[in-house]
């Protein structure tokens, strides 16, 4: 009683096995944009989406944190400030799982080009900045399909932070990373939090095959480049409208 044997311990080795990436066995494709707030990723994905929509391609657009499933819990947690790094992370993972199982996977199997504004790398960068273990996070999201292209929009911290602060009357508590107790000043806390996230993103560029996009380049020029890369890496033909 009270003793511990080797097999009672959950070893790192056993968990590693769960990290093998999801095998691609569907006709669809997945294009993802990532980056800190204010990096320009959403604008660029919107323009990519418009281009594909106008062309009549079979696409679906999905956002991080958009499912009604966990909305009430997230609201309750945020309003009352009950979320810890772990529950914050798990709640978003549950939300993502719902989207993954009910939208993304069926659409990929049904031959759609799926565009995602933020993906699992958001969780890796942000939740690790909150103190969750990167290893734990990788396992948590190991059920997610690997994107065909991950665009990483990178803007210098000052540029990104100024874009956000200028456009927003008040930074929200969790958004600013106030739960971490870094600084009592919201703008300052936001800045430090975003800096940590930025560093975490940078660390994934190679390991996760990010396509690095310079967020300071003019919008239309950057969009031209984005469309070109999508055209090169994905055979858009298969998503084109069927000719009768």
């Amino acid at each position: 009683m009270g003793t511990t044997t080797a097999e009672m311990i959950l070893t790192r080795e056993t968990i590693k096995a769960a990290e093998s990436p999801v095998k691609r066995e569907y006709p669809g494709a997945l294009v993802v944009v990532e980056g800190i707030d204010g990096s320009g990723k959403s604008t660029q994905l919107y323009l990519l989406k418009r281009w594909l929509e106008i062309g009549g391609y079979r696409i679906h657009f999905t956002e991080w944190n958009s499912s009604p499933l966990v909305k009430s819990a997230t609201r309750r947690g945020k309003q009352r400030r009950l979320l810890t790094p772990t529950t914050f992370s798990l709640l978003h993972a549950a939300d993502f799982a719902d989207r993954c199982e009910r939208q993304i996977m069926p659409l990929l199997h049904g031959g759609y080009l799926v565009l995602a504004d933020r993906y699992i790398y958001t969780a890796f960068a942000r939740d690790a900045a909150r103190g969750c273990s990167p290893h734990w996070l990788r396992n948590l999201y190991s059920f997610a399909p690997t994107p065909d292209i991950t665009f990483y929009f990178r803007a210098p911290l000052d540029v990104a932070v100024n874009r956000i602060v200028a456009g927003r009357p008040k930074l929200k508590y969790y958004e600013a990373g106030m739960d971490l107790g870094i600084s009592l000043d919201r703008a300052e806390s936001f800045r430090i939090f975003q800096d940590r996230i930025l560093n975490n993103y940078d660390a994934m560029v190679e390991s996760d095959n990010f396509v690095l996009m310079d967020g300071t380049v003019r919008v239309n020029k950057l969009q031209k480049l984005m469309r070109q890369i999508v055209g090169e890496r994905i055979s858009l033909q298969q998503f084109a409208p069927k000719k009768r």
């Binding site: 009270g2 044997t5 966990v70 309750r76 810890t84 709640l91 719902d98 734990w136």
Partner: protein, 274 residues
């Protein structure tokens, strides 16, 4: 270098290394960690002076009855008790109830909502209780959550990975009952069998009894595996309430250093004592 004084009343041989090394514990053999892997962010294991006792078992195994009785016994012995259970978190407890009622939720989402529910209780109720030296009686723990998700095809290693940051119980009791007995008890209690407890989302059988038996047998097999992996104290949940309770008290008493295990339920709980 002086050895630390052993706590009085604890018969267990101290595994801890001499405490002279103040700067770090890396050099010496560490005592078994209170967490399976790295502890939750911001938690200091050495602050947790309370005791975590887990009672696992399927519906109809007598868990709730035993927890009511143990709570009364421990309180009469002067120990403060906190309880936890599934879907009892403030954060998502009600949301899960809603999801279960709808039956549209998918397996991964449900598994992760349950883990959110678990960690919300662990971090905001259980850890504070253990810091204050309370006895926590858990009406089910991560093991039920792992078993339920595993029989639905979610990888065991994946699940253990999620719960890697959870607290290792001091004692885990498994009240083992045959599915047929669990069926009889549940039916007697509520005149029906629940959709989820009979695993109807898994399309095992259109017959509710068959579905229940097959599902509970699958869960039981997972528990047999978990029992070996995590060192459960397996108990015959089909014995009388009084017999099961006597054994539970004995094991808990010896862990806590309580001398007397004598107990008779108060009038309020005497109806449970059959």
């Amino acid at each position: 270098m002086k050895r630390s004084e052993k706590a009085p009343g604890k018969s267990k041989a101290s595994k801890a290394a001499p405490t002279g090394n103040k700067s770090g514990k890396s050099a010496a053999i560490e005592p078994p960690s209170r967490f399976y892997g790295s502890p939750l962010p911001g938690v200091k294991p050495e602050e947790l002076s309370g005791t975590l006792v887990v009672i696992e078992g399927t519906d109809g195994s007598g868990r709730s009855t035993q927890i009511s009785l143990l709570t009364e016994w421990l309180e009469s012995e002067g120990f403060a008790v906190q309880t936890m259970g599934l879907r009892r978190s403030y954060l998502v407890g009600e949301d899960i109830d809603g999801l279960l009622a709808e039956n549209t939720v998918t397996r991964m989402t449900l598994a992760l909502m349950y883990s959110t529910d678990f960690f919300d209780q662990l971090e905001r109720r259980i850890l504070p209780a253990l810091r204050s030296g309370l006895i926590v009686l858990a009406d089910r723990y991560i093991f039920t959550l792992i078993a339920r998700a595993a029989v639905r095809g979610i990888g065991r290693d994946y699940l253990h990975g999620i719960y890697e940051t959870s607290l290792r119980p001091d004692l885990t009791f498994w009240l083992n009952v045959r599915p047929e007995v669990a069926f009889d008890r549940e039916f007697k209690k509520s005149q029906t069998i629940s959709y989820w407890e009979s695993g109807r989302d898994m399309s095992l059988s259109n017959d509710l009894f068959q579905s229940f038996i097959r599902y509970q047998s699958m869960i039981k097999r997972e528990f047999e595996y978990l029992s070996k992996r995590h060192g459960f104290i397996e108990m015959d949940g089909e014995s009388s309430v009084a017999d099961v309770n006597r054994i539970l008290r004995k094991r808990i008493a010896s862990h806590l250093g309580i001398r007397s295990t004598h107990y008779r339920p108060s009038h309020a709980l005497s109806h449970l004592w059959r």
